[in-house]
Symmetry: C2
Subunit: 404 residues, 2 copies
């Protein structure tokens, strides 16, 4: 008998019919002999509908009150699923974030979990109940309602699985697992049976948006085996754990990519240690996320400094950089706003030198110019003109034999 935490996302509980289907699936697992804890999101669209109401009144509505507002979405679905389970003869009980004592800090709208009191959940499991928990929400030290931010339901599920020492945390979504790359770009993309936490983190942060990165970090930290699978079809999904699948042992597990990149370069800045901070501080102060950062010393006591941002932030970042350029007496500011980043990811590359070489050769053969390159232990990322994105992904998928 195992203890399984199952999380169902918004599309999985988007209609009453789908809620009934979730109930059927939960009951099948329960009847197979496992203890089941369910974590739910709001019905798809509901969180946005509620936030829309708040924004109609005030675009800068208080985060505390928005948390009170949007946390109702999950409260509705936990009640409806509990009713559906009971109707089908399965004993179930709903629990809000407050009721399971999901303690968080005070950061409304993006609260961090500090502690879970698993006492209540264990008591209900002992009574042979399915416990249906509202994702995304917690309570602050002031006993106010908090939310964990978008995708917080995944984090809730992992945190509960960690607190309960569950055997597995299953994330049900509308895709049936993690793929070698986006099947919309490369139809030959293949579902992975398993992947490591580290690879998943690189895949997720690079745009393969199956799982919230925070949930993966959390699962890795507490070593909770995580499984991504579809609530609409049968199948084993993809298991995310520390081991990965040794039998499979590929050099590269997948190819992630990000559209909507933009790069900014400041040429001829003084080549001294403080210059990176001088350049990036105004960007950070404007809440603009910087992704890749590259600095080249030119040998004449000046350096060229390049970084990438989301395309939406390009215009503002360029303005800020031009101000910095005047202050530093730099030569010029350049920028490009139609770029894409492509990354090959795999723990196998740690033991296989020459992995990057295959990438560069493949892109070179296709006549694709790499504008920036950045490497880490388990990934190599390149930035290319966005128009080459699909061509590059398909060429790399084939070069690394990801279709098997």
């Amino acid at each position: 008998m195992a203890l399984i935490v199952q999380k169902y996302g918004g599309t999985s509980v988007g209609t009453l019919e789908r809620i009934q289907a979730v109930a059927d699936r939960v009951i099948r697992c329960k009847e197979a002999g496992d203890d089941i804890v369910v974590v739910l999101s709001a019905m798809s669209g509901e969180t946005n509908r509620l936030l829309g109401l708040a924004q109609e009144i005030d675009e800068n509505a208080s985060e505390r009150e928005k948390d009170v507002l949007v946390s109702t979405g999950e409260q509705v679905t936990i009640a409806l699923l509990s009713i559906a389970l009971q109707k089908k003869g399965c004993d179930a009980i709903s629990m809000t974030g407050d009721q399971i004592r999901m303690h968080t800090d005070n950061a409304h709208g993006k609260a961090r979990i500090t502690d879970i009191d698993d006492h209540n959940i264990h008591a209900h499991l002992k009574d042979n109940k399915v416990v249906v928990i509202a994702g995304f929400q917690g309570r602050s030290p002031d006993n106010y309602i908090t939310t964990l931010g978008r995708g917080g339901s995944d984090t809730t599920a992992v945190a509960i699985a960690a607190a309960l020492k569950a055997d597995e945390c299953q994330i049900y979504t509308d895709v049936d697992g993690v793929y070698t790359t986006d099947p919309r770009v490369e139809p030959k993309a293949r579902r992975l049976e398993s992947i490591t936490f580290e690879e998943m983190l690189e895949m997720a942060s690079l745009g393969a948006k199956v799982l919230q990165i925070r949930a993966v970090e959390f699962a890795g930290k507490y070593n909770v085996p995580l499984r991504v699978l579809s609530s609409f079809t049968e199948g084993n999904g993809t298991l995310i754990s520390y081991e990965g699948n040794k039998m499979e042992s590929p050099v590269i597990s997948g190819i992630a990519f990000n559209r909507d990149e933009a790069s900014l370069t400041i040429l001829g800045v003084p080549d001294k240690p403080s210059v990176a901070a001088s350049i990036l501080a105004p960007i950070g102060d404007a809440n603009i996320d910087v992704d890749m950062i590259i600095q080249n010393s030119m040998g004449d006591n000046t350096a060229d400094f390049t970084f990438t941002v989301h395309r939406n932030d390009y215009k503002r970042a360029k303005e800020l950089l031009e101000e910095t350029s005047s202050k530093l007496g730099a030569r010029e500011v350049q920028g490009k706003d139609s770029l894409a980043k492509i990354s090959i990811v795999g723990v196998g590359m740690m033991n296989h030198p020459g992995v990057a070489k295959t990438m560069f050769e493949t892109l070179g053969d296709e006549g694709i110019n790499m504008q920036l390159i950045s490497t880490s232990e388990i990934k190599v990322s390149v930035v290319v003109d966005e128009k080459y994105l699909e061509l590059a992904v398909r060429a790399l998928h084939s070069a690394y034999n990801l279709e098997q």
Copy 2:
């Protein structure tokens, strides 16, 4: 400086525009120097929408889960009003039933308030905040969400006003006060400046559905001055208190009525003390509410026994009564299902004999036959054929000079 509890019903917060209008009204009162606590219902229609979802899954959905579900309705409106108040520069904070420690018993769907911890509310008032509280909801001893049943928001407001020793509890609704009778039946009906708790209880229970009877009882018990007024128009509404308005001092304050009455009579039952219980026990066991009860001894050791029920319960009650009739060896069961009850209500009648005589004469002059009569200290009720309802109400309104 007074402490005022204001309760706004579902139509008053039915749209974002109306929520903004409520915010404006709250701010006007706050700026006049009063401390304001607001109690809100869900947006009109929302509670029914949510219950509809539960019923689509299970017509007999658990009361506990229905409470989790429907309590979200008020949680949405308190957040939205708080956001609207803040946007307009008024410091405000929303509080759920759980957060103000609205303790209730375990009777999900119809919970009774046991205690309120006013500590939190007082603390926020001291900080010069408007406190916006979710009506209708509380928390059980198990820390589960409870609801007080339909109209529970009125009760919440009165309970909070009592706990805070507020100077007045204002119930904002879509009518501008309590009328001498229903203006749809008698266009000359007049708004009352004031009315006593006892009169209001008689009016409310008889169908003048402005206020929940439970809230009036509660207000009377804790001597909380209650004011009914419109959230759509200006005006003083109607004050409900122990004093009433001595200056006005009318014999009759108003005329209440109930359609949809039915009467049942069992003829020739043994005239002994236990017979009423024998007749009514099966009716009560079937959850049928009995209103008027009349027993006439016939002098031959038998009695005739008549009672009224809601028309919807007529058929079932008649079946039960026929079973009882066989058991008791009664002569016959009779019934009528198209009746209406009309009542004149007023504390003044305690000191004015002859009030009932005017009623009987007036109805007699109009050729209206009274099928049942029942009296209490402050009201006289008669049951007539429903087709005479409007005629009777108008004739009595005029006979008692209620239009002034």
